[in-house]
């Protein structure tokens, strides 16, 4: 039995869904960030599987760019977490809920 690209994509979808679940259920900002990273990785897997199946290298090159974006996002996100932590002494996003309505 060969492993078709569809299997990879299903795995990717699973990882993406787990990432979403993490964002929605965890309140530690760091874990939420990691969940977002997980979503991006799921996308990467999709890109690579699709590129391989299509016989096209663009998919892999796209992943390279996603990596850069992920890195930049993490840097900024962690900077925000640190700023919040310094100010409020917590990284719990549920406590950042003064504005509503």
């Amino acid at each position: 039995m060969t492993v078709g690209p569809a299997w990879y994509m299903l795995l990717a979808a699973g990882l993406f869904v787990i990432g979403i679940a993490g964002v929605l259920t965890r309140r530690n900002a760091l874990i939420m960030f990691m969940s977002i990273e997980l979503m991006l990785n799921a996308v990467n897997l999709t890109f690579i599987a699709a590129g391989t199946a299509l016989g096209d290298l663009s998919g892999q090159v796209a992943v390279f760019f996603v990596l850069v974006v992920a890195a930049a996002e993490v840097v900024v996100g962690l900077a925000i977490v640190v700023a919040v932590y310094r100010r409020r002494g917590t990284a719990n996003v549920d406590e950042l809920s003064e504005m509503s309505g």
């Binding site: 787990i18 679940a21 016989g55 096209d56 932590y85």
Partner: protein
């Protein structure tokens, strides 16, 4: 056959890592779960002949980004164990609902055969994501996006410096 074994093992590793990430009470365990997923994915990339990306995955992601995560976890206190009981009313139901719906949707698309895939792609030769081939593409066709990533890095560094080094002036607080 070997591909199947690799897929099953690495895939299971990735899923296990991902579940650890979102279920662990301790952020450090989450980070380790994430790390497991990243490595498993790198293995899968290799099996898809995406060698360069796999290498970058290990170096940049597992190496740099996760280190940064761990660093911040250390910075804001490793001993913090999160209380995972839900406090927002309706949040758990909503979250589980949409996540389950998303999962069901993916499963439906897959089971209904929609995932079956015939390759009528642009190139039929198997791609080989060597450094040379990737670099060829990166600096020729993709040169503009490549330059744009430099902007991204400027933004990231400016942002990190601007935010993390900023001392709140007490007088203007509130």
């Amino acid at each position: 056959m070997s591909e199947l074994v690799i897929f099953v093992v690495a895939g299971a590793g990735a899923l296990a890592g991902a579940l650890t990430l979102i279920l662990a009470k301790h952020p450090v365990y989450s980070a380790l779960g994430m790390l497991g997923t990243l490595f498993s994915l790198a293995v899968l990339y290799v099996s898809q002949l995406a060698h360069f990306v796999a290498a970058v995955q290990v170096v940049v992601y597992a190496g740099a980004i996760m280190t940064l995560f761990l660093f911040v976890i250390m910075l804001i206190g490793v001993d913090q164990v999160e209380d995972t009981s839900e406090t927002i009313r309706g949040q758990r139901v909503g979250a589980i609902g949409v996540v389950a719906a998303f999962a069901i949707l993916s499963g439906y698309l897959w089971l209904s055969g929609i995932f079956s895939w015939e390759v009528v792609g642009t190139g039929t030769e198997p791609v080989n994501g060597s450094i040379e081939a990737t670099g060829q593409l990166l600096f020729a066709e993709w040169v503009l996006p490549f330059e744009v990533t430099s902007l991204l890095l400027i933004v990231a560094s400016v942002g990190a410096v601007g935010l993390a080094l900023f001392k709140p002036r007490k007088a203007e607080d509130e």
